[in-house]
């Protein structure tokens, strides 16, 4: 993780349902690549962090120190993907649900 870039970007995270105790009823997948967002949204923000207009304004206000205590914008997921999960319900019937926003495609400053 140490050679990760400082700037807001997507970081690798593999989630194994056995680690969170859900593997007993989740048939498939047993694990999936969820990723996560981390990194700085410092002024001036590069285009790559795709700042919203509000984030741009907030980081300028913070940089010029007009108002004390303003934090820098947050590095959060921007585009996300859904994930189909096959699991057993409480009656041991097989269920398929396609959950939205389960893995990160891109990150951005907000």
């Amino acid at each position: 993780q140490w050679d990760e870039p400082r700037v807001c970007s997507r970081r690798y995270l593999k989630v194994d349902f056995a680690d969170i105790g859900w593997n007993e009823w989740i048939i498939s997948p047993k694990s999936f690549d969820a990723y996560y967002c981390a990194g700085a949204c410092e002024f001036p923000m590069p285009k790559i962090v795709r700042p919203s207009n509000h984030a741009t304004i907030q980081s300028i206000v913070r940089a010029v120190g007009i108002v004390p205590g303003i934090p820098e914008p947050c590095c959060v997921p921007d585009k996300m993907n859904s994930l189909g999960v096959l699991f057993l319900d409480e009656n041991r019937n097989v269920v398929l649900k396609v959950y939205p926003n389960m893995s990160v495609e891109t990150c951005a400053c907000r």
């Binding site: 859900w22 859904s82 189909g84 649900k97 396609v98 939205p100 389960m102």
Partner: protein, 335 residues
């Protein structure tokens, strides 16, 4: 009652398997995860749907949920009746299509003997040529959980005799929607051939099953994954299930109360970074309390400022708390 058209526009997925004598057993760890349960057709069908719809952006049957319901075989008045318990459907799931899948064998009627005429001594009895294969009827009834009646007839379908043994699918959407609207979530299906049942079939991988394609309106809410997947040992019974994982202890989970200082904003493990307060509102830790229900609602976490006003507006009505049992907490601390 509804006489449902014999074959309406079934979801493409359902047709994918109709007419199969026996689908090839699915490969992959999903089948392994199902264990012996992967040998029946409903599991094979669901695994195929999973492989088809777990690619990005695909939507099963136009929705986001497919529920399968296995049959429970019972003998009523010497007839085989299959019962389906649909109670696990969530209120937020809008039914799009429901299909009934069953395996039918061709039924060649026995040649019938003509009673010999009395006067003609030892005349050879003639055999009538077998008539056309018997038509079968599918009868659907619905009943609420604890009634002893046979239930309300919801639908009847005439079935053309199949040329050979094969799986068929019938659209029973109106039947399931009507039964759910009336709160009768126990459905029975009877394959009635009119003539005496040739012996009651035993439970087999050829048991019929129901698939319900739905659109879960609550799936986009924050944390919908926790509502359906965040639970505790779902097979908690007196004796642990033979196939249950070793760590699913049969002992009841103890409830872990944490200091609720107001709505939680994130999913941090409560109690890791702060000792439960011993203030007037602190909820005492009860060892003997069981989980009120297997599903725990999540709580949103107060912002930093709100946490400073600890105890002022504790127990905000709409707030929710994230509970973990001791075992999970120890694992988390270790990590």
């Amino acid at each position: 009652s509804h006489t449902v058209p014999a074959r309406s526009a079934l979801p493409a997925a359902a047709d994918g398997l109709v007419g199969h004598k026996d689908a090839q057993w699915p490969l992959g760890d999903a089948a392994a995860a199902l264990g012996p349960g992967a040998r029946d057709m409903v599991a094979v069908h669901m695994l195929r749907l999973y492989e088809k719809y777990s690619r990005r952006g695909a939507r099963p049957g136009g929705g986001n949920t497919v529920r399968s319901f296995r049959a429970r075989l019972e003998v009523v008045n010497q007839k085989a009746v299959y019962f389906f318990n649909l109670t696990s459907m969530q209120d937020s799931e809008m039914i799009l299509t429901a299909t009934f899948h069953f395996y039918s064998e061709p039924r060649w009627p026995q040649a019938r003997e003509v009673p010999c005429k009395q006067r003609a001594k030892n005349a050879s009895c003639r055999l009538l040529p077998p008539g056309p294969p018997a038509r079968q009827h599918l009868l659907f009834r619905s009943l609420s959980q604890n009634t002893a009646t046979q239930g309300l007839l919801r639908g009847a379908m005439a079935l053309a005799p199949p040329p050979r043994g094969l799986w068929q699918a019938k659209d029973i959407s109106p039947i399931v929607k009507a039964a759910r609207r009336d709160g009768e979530l126990l459905l029975s299906a009877q394959l009635d051939a009119g003539e005496k049942d040739p012996g009651v079939p035993r439970p087999s991988p050829h048991a019929p099953y129901i698939l319900v394609y739905a659109n879960d309106l609550a799936i986009s809410e924050p944390n919908s994954v926790a509502v359906t997947l965040q639970r505790y040992d779902p097979f908690q019974t007196g004796d642990p299930e033979p196939g249950a994982a070793p760590n699913s202890s049969a002992d009841p989970r103890v409830r872990r109360a944490t200091q609720v200082t107001g709505p939680l904003q994130d999913n941090e493990l409560p109690g890791l970074d702060e000792r439960p307060a011993h203030g007037p509102h602190a909820q005492p830790y009860h060892k003997h309390e069981l989980w009120p229900s297997p599903f725990r609602a999540l709580k949103s976490r107060p912002g930093r400022k709100d946490r400073r006003r600890k105890g002022q507006d504790a127990f905000a009505a709409s707030s929710q708390v994230l509970d973990f049992d001791e075992k999970t907490m120890q694992k988390a601390r270790r990590k």
